[in-house]
């Protein structure tokens, strides 16, 4: 009986940590596989993840819900990312949302105009753990430092 109670408490602690206070991450990518990979990985790491296929969908989503961070790929679809970036920075309500640009291809480099405050470029060749560290630090700097 005692172990059942302990199990339930453990489960509730875990369920609570899974459901509450989860930062929202908006993933913008045209590939369903990349979206799903990020969805599963970030969900495992404690994020509440939304996914959209392009910048226009992202802008629509932003009118409903404010994520703590937006994630897109810099190495592909530069025009799409530039469109997203300009949409973000042209709206006062969205201007503060940090943008993380990752690159899968080792050769990919970010465009110069994105190298500014609130935009982080993370090559995945440095490791997905580094990408997740940057993500946590971006969303909650105090937690990342602790």
């Amino acid at each position: 009986m005692k172990s059942t109670t302990a199990s339930r408490a453990s489960y509730l602690d875990f369920a609570s940590s899974q459901l509450h206070d989860r930062p929202i991450a908006l993933v913008v990518h045209s590939s369903p596989t990349v979206r799903r990979a990020l969805l599963v990985t970030l969900d495992l790491d404690g994020f509440d993840v939304r996914t959209v296929g392009d910048a226009s969908e992202a802008v629509l989503r932003l009118s409903d819900e404010q994520p703590q961070v937006i994630i897109a790929e810099s190495g592909q679809e530069c025009e799409e990312v530039a469109n997203l970036f300009s949409q973000l920075r042209s709206t006062a309500a969205n201007r503060h949302i940090p943008l993380i640009l990752f690159s899968i291809s080792p050769a990919a480099t970010p465009a110069r105009e994105w190298s500014m405050s609130g935009v982080h470029h993370v090559p995945l060749k440095q490791g997905l753990d580094h990408f997740l560290d940057v993500l946590h630090e971006t969303v909650n700097p105090r937690c990342a430092e602790a």
Binding site: D13, A37, T41, L44, D129
Partner: protein
């Protein structure tokens, strides 16, 4: 190598309660899913598994990754080690007398029967 020798220290030293076992099976299924998805877009790094495990599971349940998983650094061997560990946990669940394993755990186990291979096609 028999089942006892292969069993991870985390499982053999401290029996896990059934709820924790069920949650681990589901969590491992998602980890395996993510590894396969990243592999399909040619991202073979698995370092994130240690980081996520440390933040989300070790901190919650005190369950460390087995040594076999920690020592496996390439995507294939790490996937195999995680899948093997998931099998152990499911076997332990099934061996509990009078306990019916939930459909979710069985489904998770079945989902993970698929394996990635070096020749897998990119789904991107």
């Amino acid at each position: 190598m028999n089942a006892t020798e292969h069993r991870s220290p985390a499982i053999s030293k401290r029996p896990l309660d059934r709820v924790t076992q069920l949650l681990l099976v589901q969590f491992l299924d998602d980890v395996l899913d993510a590894l396969e998805l990243w592999q399909s877009v040619e991202v073979t790094d698995t370092s994130w598994v240690d980081a996520v495990w440390s933040r989300r599971v070790a901190a919650w349940a005190g369950v460390e990754l087995p040594l076999e998983v920690k020592r496996a650094h390439d995507a294939w061997s790490r996937h195999a080690a995680l899948l093997s560990w998931q099998h152990e946990i499911v076997e332990a669940l099934l061996s509990q007398p009078g306990v019916a394993v939930s459909d979710n755990a069985s489904a998770g186990h079945r989902r993970s029967q698929r394996c990635i291979s070096p020749g897998s096609q990119s789904l991107r």
